[in-house]
Amino acid sequence: MSSSAPQPLDPERRRWAVDVGLVLWPSFLASCAASLLFFAAVDPALLRDAGPRLFADLDREAGYALGFLFFWAVGALASALSVYLIRTERSRPRAAGSRPP
């Protein structure tokens, strides 16, 4: 928090923070776009008819929210895999001291 004296994060923790950001942020943006497109075409109230057991008590607001969170989760999974593959790539050691191209 900003209320303490300026204490720079140590590189390892900062790298972790950057990775979390790289996973959550682009997937959040993608989820906004996906929700917009999906719910423009699909009324979440209709999901009740699609899966009565799964969505029995679903009202529209819950439908929007769950849809958004679902898209976010799927996007985050994709981002997480990308970050993992980049970080574990042998030809780009992470302490090479050079910025990524």
Binding site: M1, S2, S3, S4, A5, P6, P8, L9, D10, P11, R14, R15, V18, G21, W25, L29, L36, A40, A41, D43, D59, R60, E61, A62, Y64, A65, R92, R94, A95, A96, G97, S98, R99, P100, P101
Partner: protein, 465 residues
């Protein structure tokens, strides 16, 4: 892409990419551009917090009513079927961004981006509670005294309150804000409204209070690709290196040239005021959000030194290299043409929009039915969607074949505002004329309003000739 250089480094050396982010204490500044930014902040945030409460014709003036799946934009009501307009609006927004970026650089970033606008507001609170730049730095370095605790607590309380109010207002554009307000007053808000208010409030607090310039540096995709819209005629904020260098301190009244110096006195005020903490004298950097704070700072110093303003100024790369700047150029013409076309299509389609949709589906069970051996009847299922915010009654008419008649419905079809009515229709034609497949047209016309009428094509099928 450049080939990475092979370089042996000790394993313990931290990678500069993850170098610690230093906290930035932007110095307060006054001048032309900071006045402009302040005006933009007040205007934009005033609109954001105010328009949500505006009523229009008995409903909230601007409401993207997600629970009811309809958008109120003043007297216009849009339904999910009107998705085209939203798409067009987004395309126009993107094209305007391209146009203004190519013309004047990062105007969006410096004056209109919510990140800039809310950060500015949060910084005002910080300056009000913790004081100016040097005091804030001293306060952060110092021990936890009662005064520090008080100042920090007041700041955090104000920040949290502002963030919560922002979240509430934001949700108020998607659920009617007045019922949201009474829900809040009686502590009976819905689960999901609470969730979104909390999430958006948290995002505001995190982005404007805590992350600030890091959003622009690390999270914003636009900051990375905006250079694609830049060319040598785009307005940028730039340090005039030819005039400023060699930089250095000097006594007041020293004539720079005779002392072998440029106009830059190396006071570093331009760095201190920068909200993203860069040194504009290193040239154009993608971290620069073009807020103009460094121009204001430098102009003030130039005034004091008795030199001409504009050592740091809005200029173009061509102007810096003593070439002429062209405002009208192919890139601008292309962006402008696309923008005009998209705006034209949107305006035209909004002006000619008929708030009525008719869907015609032929009955799948029977191709046709003979009535008393002399007439052939076809059955249809009609979906009538009233997109207006008033109820309407419609009369159906059919044409396209000799002797074609509507058997039912003969009564007008009444549809409440924003609703769908499914109507079974039967259409008949003389048996002698109805062999084979015929193209017919159904016309639905509002009886209680002029100009609301739609045509829909379908088929009429009779016995094979």
């Amino acid at each position: 892409m450049t080939t990475p250089h092979l370089r042996l480094v000790p394993a313990s050396e931290p990678a500069p990419f993850y170098a610690a982010a230093e906290k930035i204490y932007p110095r307060e500044i006054s001048g032309r551009f900071s006045r402009l930014r302040r005006a933009a902040v007040i205007l934009l945030l005033g609109l954001f917090y105010g328009v949500a409460w505006l009523q229009w014709d008995g409903h909230q003036a601007l409401l993207f009513d997600l629970p009811a799946r309809k958008f109120h934009i003043f007297s216009l009501t849009l339904w999910p079927q009107d998705f085209l307009y939203l798409t067009l609006l987004l395309i126009i927004a993107a094209l305007s961004l391209f146009f203004f970026t190519a013309l004047a650089g990062r105007l969006w970033c410096g004056y209109a981006c919510p990140q800039t606008v809310w950060t500015e507001l949060f910084v005002w609170i910080e300056q009000w509670t913790e004081g100016k730049r040097t005091r804030r730095m001293k306060l952060d370095r110092g021990p936890w005294t009662a005064e520090k605790l008080l100042r920090k607590t007041v700041k955090q309380l104000l920040w949290v309150a502002l963030a919560a109010w922002t979240g509430f207002t934001f949700v108020g554009y998607f659920t009617p804000i007045r019922s949201l307000g009474s829900g809040l007053a009686t502590l009976s808000l819905g689960t999901w409204s609470t969730f979104w208010i909390f999430l958006y409030g948290l995002a505001t607090y995190g982005n404007a209070g805590f992350l600030r310039e890091q959003v622009c540096k690390y999270m914003c995709p636009y900051a990375r690709f905006q250079s694609a819209m830049f060319d040598k005629d785009t307005l940028i904020i730039s340090y005039d290196e030819a005039r400023g260098e060699p930089r250095g301190a000097r006594r007041r009244g020293t004539v720079a040239r005779t002392a072998g110096l440029g106009d830059c006195i190396d006071c570093t005020l331009c760095v201190q005021v920068c909200p993203t903490g860069i040194d504009i004298r290193h040239g154009l950097q993608y971290e620069c959000i073009a807020c103009g704070a460094c121009i204001d700072a430098c102009d003030e110093v130039m005034d004091k030194m008795g030199s001409a303003r504009g050592l740091i100024r809005y200029t173009t790369e061509h102007a810096l290299h003593a070439k002429s700047t062209h405002v009208v150029r192919p890139r601008m013409l292309v962006y402008a043409a696309l923008l005009l076309v998209a705006s034209g299509v949107l305006t035209y389609s909004l002006l000619t929009r008929t708030p009525l949709i008719l869907d015609v589906i032929r009955d799948r069970n029977a191709l046709y039915r003979e009535v008393r051996g002399e007439r052939i009847e076809n059955a249809y299922s009609l979906k009538v969607i009233n997109l207006d915010d008033k109820p309407h009654a419609y009369r159906l008419a059919v044409s396209g074949m000799p002797g074609l008649e509507l058997t039912s419905p003969v009564e007008p079809i009444a549809v409440p505002p924003g609703s769908v009515s499914t109507v079974a229709a039967r259409i008949a034609a003389p048996a002698a004329d109805s062999g084979g497949v015929h193209k017919i047209s159904l016309t639905l016309t509002a009886l209680d309003a002029s100009g609301i009428s739609v045509h829909e094509k379908s088929r009429f099928i009779g016995p094979s000739p």
